[in-house]
Symmetry: C2
Subunit: 213 residues, 2 copies
């Protein structure tokens, strides 16, 4: 195994272990000792990748951006819908992404970090909405930045609720419901009839996608 590949595997294994420990104990109560114990790595190897618990948390939060995959879709409003549905599905199955979102919500709930985990989501969705407007998909008078903030903010809250009520099993349904309520205020009537807000078909088997490095 090449050194680079070994390094990537170690990094991913630390992030997965940290995701589990943060999940079980919460960020503040978690220690790097616990994270280390379940990786089988040496402390030196851990510090090679991450100098501190905070650095691990930052890398976990960054994993969110990597999970924002823009679907190849000619209808750009459909691309935004599918992006959120795919993100919802990955949240159900990828422990690293789950820990990423939880850390982001917890940290931002208590403090204002220098760089927020929402910037990338905002930029990606705003860009798609601008393309949708150019293609005549969006109602006149809609403020695209406002629409973007509403989508990202509402999604953030829905996944907190879904975690509480169903351990995220109902998250795709909640996201579809959000779209059914939002679209009449966002899409032109002609476009509205063409947009699909049903959950994406499940891909089997449910392998956790690679989000690192």
């Amino acid at each position: 195994m090449a050194q680079q590949e070994r390094g990537n595997r170690s990094r991913r294994s630390i992030l997965e272990a940290a995701a589990r420990v943060f999940d079980e104990r919460g960020y503040d109560a978690a220690s790097t000792n616990e994270i280390l114990a379940s990786t089988g790595l040496t402390r030196g190897a851990l510090y090679h990748h991450f100098p501190s618990k905070e650095a691990i948390a930052s890398a976990l939060v960054a994993a969110q951006s990597e999970a924002l995959v823009v679907p190849d879709q000619p209808v750009k409003l459909q691309a935004v819908i599918d992006l959120t549905l795919e993100f919802a599905r990955r949240l159900q199955h990828d422990p690293v992404l789950r820990a990423s979102v939880r850390l982001a919500v917890e940290q931002t709930s208590f403090s204002r970090p220098a760089q927020t985990p929402y910037e990338q989501s905002n930029a990606t969705i705003l860009d798609l909405l601008r393309q949708a407007r150019e293609q005549g998909e969006v109602l006149p008078g809609v403020d695209l930045q406002e629409a973007t903030s509403t989508i990202v903010g509402a999604f953030t809250g829905l996944q907190v609720m879904s975690q509480v009520y169903s351990n995220r099993q109902d998250l795709p349904d909640r996201v579809c419901a959000l779209w059914r309520f939002l679209l009449p205020g966002l899409a032109t009537p002609g476009m509205l009839a063409r947009l699909r807000t049903a959950p994406l078909p499940q891909t089997a088997p449910q392998a956790a996608p690679q989000t690192a490095p």
Copy 2:
């Protein structure tokens, strides 16, 4: 001062101190010693009201329900809108309510509590939407439970975002934007023209409302 009144004041002063300490240090890192230090109460007095840090947190979370004041409004969709706008305004100024919401989001983000802080919001809004439907304000085909979950979930996320970006200063604007996007999928066209989604006029001075008994 009657004993009952003194007791209520002590209880409120503990909740306010806890709200400040949780705000600054986060729930896990906060200690009852710190909370006690800023109240001027004895440890015995603290334990008389709250046997543990968890009990203080539970009381703080419960303060959310007390802040859900149903407006006296003949148009029931307007009552739902005004309820969320008033809650948003109180979140800006009431430290106990702020800590309440943050704790709820943090705790529910990491675990599934037996009783969630969203039950009361859900019940209150669902009841108003049912009255709105009886009065012919709601579009046919709208699932009221789904609408309720979407409103409560979206609000929860918007206040997390608003905390990050503006220390909640833009929360009323974000909530108004949410309503502008949600209402075309919720209200009948005739009702839509009558509903007000501008922020409520500010009441001066900004005294923190009493949320504890």
